[in-house]
Amino acid sequence: MPALSFLDGSGGLAYTMFSAVEETRVELVADVAGRRLPVAPTWAASQIPGSAGLFLAGAERFRVGPVTREWRRQLDPLARRVCAMGPYDAVEVTLFVRTVGAVGEGTRYVGRARCRP
């Protein structure tokens, strides 16, 4: 299992612990009547209990933490949850991941949800 978990490059089951760190930032954008409005992650965090709230709190700026690849796969559900926070037509969640101390926005991972049929 540990070896297999390296197939996706993550080593997610290989007891990597705190061996690597990275910087992450989150951007939330909502579509409202054809306009794109930014939503503050920390405000969104106040509406969401549990670990997802902790993930969003203070995520407006880059933060250093252990590498956690699972976050990248959960952006669509997060966008769906943000849909319920306002009269949004659609929500886009962007996770920026970069090497610590690097310049620029790094790699982007995007999740989207349509809030209305």
């Binding site: 540990p2 007891y15 061996s19 209990p49 549990g50 997802a52 933490g65 699972e70 959960q74 769906r80």
Partner: protein, 305 residues
């Protein structure tokens, strides 16, 4: 202590850690990661993000039921009431609940659940149990746990064979960003040189531990080194119950090779006088292990040579 009792004791200790980590008992122990929301780990709250690992999103009612099942089963596992079934149910329920929190996946819980599963599947369900189960193979149960603990150190050491870690930069960043904030952490990791030395030391110890543990002569040294390393982790990084589980697993290395068959409460386990008679000299520890394992299966018993 006999292998039989050691395995039973490991079950009780790991089950106890499981109960502390997943119930309100956690509030009695300072420094642990307190659950979000309810009194039981993973209890779903209104307004949660409906996400899960592998998309295994479950309704809140089902998650609540699984949390209750997990807790009851963990208690049964700890006291040894149908411990094998209880342990397996505990882990299945725990992983399903765990999957509902994809933003909080941590190795501590993964290691705790895997350890519980290995104990449940092996002969840890016999001793110190309300309802003991007869052992099937003490040797393989013990070596499975030993191999598991050694593999964790090995994989963890391999993951640290990176320039970023070995330069000490990763540790320095963890200190700067509050992941290691004690006076001990600042003393050990406060300068780039100390951080680099600590990083090398941790990687080397983790990589060396499997070999030192498996080699009988250096086993006690390895156990002492591992305990010291976990103690330093505790006062610097506070890694939840990870150190507790690992130190508990190290207990498997304290047991001698399976030698407790004479004390077992079951009547269907035979010692191996015939094998002993064929070997006038005392058998080596490996021979002893094989003999006693085979003795549990008389129909497949074969001479050692």
């Amino acid at each position: 202590m006999t292998t039989h009792r050691t395995l039973g004791l490991l079950r009780v200790v790991v089950g106890g850690i499981f109960l502390v980590r997943s119930t309100p008992l956690i509030h009695l122990v300072p420094g642990l990661f307190v659950h979000h929301g309810g009194p039981l780990l993973g209890w779903p709250r209104d307004g949660r993000v409906e996400a899960a690992v592998f998309g295994l999103v479950l309704p809140a009612l089902v998650v609540k039921a699984l949390v209750v099942v997990r807790t009851v089963a963990a208690l049964a596992f700890t006291i040894g009431l149908h411990a094998r079934v209880a342990g397996i149910v505990t882990v299945v329920a725990a992983y399903l609940v765990y999957a509902q929190e994809p933003f909080a996946l941590i190795f501590t819980l993964h290691v705790l659940y895997q350890t519980t599963l290995l104990l449940a599947c092996g002969d840890a369900v016999g001793a110190l149990s309300v309802r003991p189960s007869p052992p099937r193979s003490l040797a393989s149960s013990l070596w499975l746990l030993r191999g598991f603990s050694a593999s964790i150190y090995l994989w963890s050491g391999v993951a640290k064979l990176r320039g970023e870690w070995l330069s000490g930069r990763t540790l320095t960043l963890l200190v700067q960003h509050g992941y290691a904030d004690s006076a001990v952490a600042r003393a050990l990791l406060g300068t780039p040189q100390r951080a680099a030395a600590s990083a090398w030391l941790v990687a080397l110890v983790e990589l060396a531990l499997p070999g030192l543990l498996f080699a009988g002569r250096t086993r006690h040294l390895a156990i002492a080194a591992a305990c010291a390393m976990h103690a330093v982790f505790e006062v610097t990084m506070h890694p939840d119950v990870f150190g507790w589980v690992m130190v508990a697993l190290l207990g498997a290395w304290f047991a001698d090779d399976p030698d407790g068959l004479a004390h077992l409460p079951t009547g269907n386990v035979q010692r191996a006088p015939s094998a002993k008679a064929k070997h006038p000299e005392p058998p080596s520890s490996r021979q002893s292990l094989i003999t006693r394992t085979n003795s549990q299966r008389p129909s497949t018993h074969t001479p050692l040579r």
